[in-house]
Symmetry: C2
Subunit: 507 residues, 2 copies
């Protein structure tokens, strides 16, 4: 069938064309089916989307990326023919039936995801089948390698070290201490990190308060030549690009299958030339690992897949039942991290950071086994970590002389008070996250939450349990409403609600 | 955030708005997230799609259906605010975790599917979790009731009978015999059927060769008052509309979970007032039930759910390993059915049709138990079924005097010859289907395949195994290529392929 090109200004990130409903009916294709599109010079297999009105009968809607591929103009003729199913969809189907996939099959799926040959729906089927059916160690290895091979790879001329967290705990600014400690000890730590997807601040969001974080691969190589350490955003490096495309379907479905999580972490680290790494696995209510057993299984699989890709790793199961330190939100966290580098800061932040940094010092042979944390603490105490952080900030283009009090925090502030005397028995990560996000984090850098009290603290009625900071008054209002309704911090003996809300006596 | 309306001419069937990437980033929403959209008069929660270019920063893309809802114009201001997650997505998530859903939860999901409040991705998660986790009998009952309650319902003043097939076998034109047999026996059989989704001809496609099939609910009621039977397309009746929306994700993913299949059949039948039905469950390679055990489990669940909705049912497990009769494709099948009503026709078609019709005669008390098929055969032999079919064709607006030779068949014909002497050992349903579809079925009514030989037939080299009919020469060529490559009919002893294809001697 011959159709006339209509240029449509929609970017989908996929090889998609729009057909009019009647044309689709005529050639017997349905949404998500594939057709072959042909001009005199080129041909390509694409996914069909169908519209009742946006392109007329006899027209084919061509997106900007396909216009570029075909170098075609409005009104030009294209021939379309129906075509068979994508073989990666056959493989996804095989996985859905519970069978194991081999390297070739997984590589085809990941390649098609990166090339835009699979629809969101088909990627979802792949991720959901991982969730429901699970994957063998071999399959996770294939998945990891395929994700690496379909992206860029950076090499350093010496062993590189890194730290990663599985996530789920707000306020986890430990990388801002670990990187300078490890770099100060002489090891190479080119840390790439993400911006927040579901948290109030990713490490890249927090670091961005102190210095720029967007660098290209060669710039990152230059950076660490000078400073031995860096804290950059991984998003600009095109590492394992399948990962971001997969996250686009995981996020709305709120799923995060273990196999995909492990492949995604290791692929990103392998792509950036990491040979040794430590993984922080927070365990506890509200994190991704509900209990120790889940955490241990995850750690064992992770270490095994790491080994297969020649990455030596230690996993640290850490307590994730409440935020690390007191601050949640980019600027508040950057401030707290800087305070800790300067000799202050909360114990939970220092303990966790030096424990994980210590693992890396041991892996790098800088500290004897089980002495890593002592060495890390000494580097922190001596001021060497602070000096290294200042070098890193300067190298990345920030102000190395920045002091905690220089960091600008949202000017609109509200507090939530304790309604009774007692001890804090529970801090709810998810509610803290929701409040910080409602206040504007991570996009409003100055927005966030300070927890004045954490589990075990004694409070008196009227004490301010937490303070909310926002850059915009309307956001502060939204956050305050959530805070008063959601009980992010629970004091034992506190009355949570009186019911019925109105009246109560039977009239 | 305030945005200016830009009207976009895209119909998605869902409550979707387009936001520019930077605005979405600013308020922290991602594709598939939900936002609340507000004008001075109305507000609505909608799903976010994100574009880099199609709407500019500061604009909100409004589809025709939302323009209608808000009664808004281009350039008008709308306020958007972020909003929590949809509670039906919470329920879907619960199912994904393996928990059972209650009536309220399933009803909320189905309601949101029908209302356009769930994205395709979210519907896919629901269907895939049915596939992977399975559903209890109670859940299937809730699902069925919810699908009925979210659509139209038709009532007849007396018990109604119906027949349905699970599908998977090409050439299954049995309804064109069953309906007139049952109606001739005095029972009410207002049969609604579907057009082909994956087959070369749905019952509605085949019947449409003989008479119009699109009727509204009141027209269907009028029809069966006169004739006691009808063969209409269910699509115009808005019965259980959730079903079509769910099929839209099942089709590209090629899944068809048992729970959804059963709920969908019973919901459609319940909506059209059916009290007694027979279900044809083809079993065998290439059908939806690979073996008898699967078929039996399906049948038992079906009967139980039917009972709960007060529908009495018999299930017939039938041999589905090759097409029913010889003809595949709308016109060819209509012709074969008419021949059978006139006293000719292939045994397999007559046996299957009278067996299933017999079940209905028994359910309706017209025939004693185990005598239904004899009664059905007698109604067929006597010519009463043909007379009834002519009445039905006339009532639906067709030509009641139509003869098999009047039916117009595609004029382009090709054959596939046997390459050796022997017996037919295998007929491949899926390949027959692909050939008929490539020839143009079901949209080209005259396109299709005649199987001249079926399993067990003796053939001599050079005999024509099958004939392909097409309305367009190009389609005939495509179909012939598939036929010569795919071995739809296998003769024992036949050489399938010689390898390597070129050369063979080691040079």
């Amino acid at each position: 069938m011959d159709l006339k090109v209509k240029l449509v200004d929609i970017s989908t990130g996929r090889k998609v064309v729009l057909l009019n409903n009647s044309d689709a009916l005529h050639i017997g294709v349905r949404p998500h089916d594939r057709i072959k599109v042909k001009t005199s010079k080129k041909e390509l297999t694409v996914i069909v989307n169908i519209t009742d009105s946006y392109v007329n009968q006899g027209e084919i809607g061509i997106t900007p990326s396909l216009k570029k591929f075909f170098n075609c103009n409005s009104g030009e003729t294209m021939e379309i023919t129906t075509t068979g199913r994508s073989s990666s969809m056959d493989y996804i189907h095989k996985k859905m039936k519970g069978e194991n996939l081999n390297y070739k099959e997984i590589h085809a799926i990941i390649g098609d995801i990166v090339e835009g040959n699979l629809s969101e729906l088909e990627i979802a089927a792949f991720v959901l089948s991982q969730q429901f059916v699970g994957m063998s160690l071999d399959e996770i290895e294939h998945l990891t390698r395929s994700m690496v091979e379909t992206g860029e790879k950076i090499d350093f001329d010496e062993p590189a070290f890194d730290k990663h967290s599985v996530g789920g705990v707000p306020g986890n600014k430990v990388s801002l201490l670990i990187v300078p400690i490890v770099a100060a000890a002489g090891l190479l730590i080119p840390k790439t990190s993400s911006k927040a997807i579901t948290s109030p601040s990713g490490t890249a969001d927090t670091m961005e308060v102190l210095a720029p974080v967007s660098f290209k691969a060669d710039e990152l190589q230059e950076l660490v030549k000078k400073t031995r350490g860096a804290l950059v955003w991984g998003g600009a490096l095109n590492l394992a690009p399948a990962d971001d495309l997969i996250i686009q379907v995981e996020h709305p479905l709120r799923i995060d299958p273990v196999s995909q999580m492990i492949a995604s972490i290791i692929a990103k680290k392998y792509s950036v030339g990491v040979d040794n790494m430590v993984l922080d696995i927070p365990v506890g209510p509200g994190t991704k690992m509900e209990n120790m057993e889940e955490g241990e299984n995850f750690a064992n699989t992770f270490v095994e897949i790491g080994k297969r890709l020649k990455i030596a790793s230690y996993c640290g199961l850490t307590y994730g039942g409440q935020p690390v330190g007191h601050a949640v939100g980019p600027a508040l966290e950057a401030k707290e991290a800087l305070e800790a580098l300067m000799g202050g800061g909360p114990t939970s932040l220092i303990e966790k950071s030096t424990a994980l940094a210590g693992f890396l010092l041991e892996l790098g042979g800088v500290a004897p086994e089980n002495k890593g944390q002592d060495y890390a603490k000494e580097i922190l105490r001596s001021g060497k970590a602070l000096k290294k952080m200042q070098e890193i900030i300067e190298a990345q283009g920030g102000d190395s002389k920045v002091k905690p009090e220089d960091i600008s925090i949202g000017e609109h502030v509200a507090g939530v008070e304790a309604k009774a005397d007692g001890y804090v028995t529970q801090v709810n990560n998810k509610n803290i996250t929701r409040i910080a996000q409602a206040a504007g984090a991570p996009l409003d850098k100055g927005a966030g939450v300070i927890l004045n009290y954490k589990i075990g603290y004694k409070v008196s009625k009227g004490d301010k349990l937490l303070s909310i900071y926002a850059e915009k008054e309307s956001k502060l209002r939204e956050a305050t409403v959530i805070a008063t309704r959601s009980y992010p911090i629970i004091v034992e003996g506190m009355l949570l609600q009186k019911l019925p809300k109105f009246g109560g006596k039977i009239s």
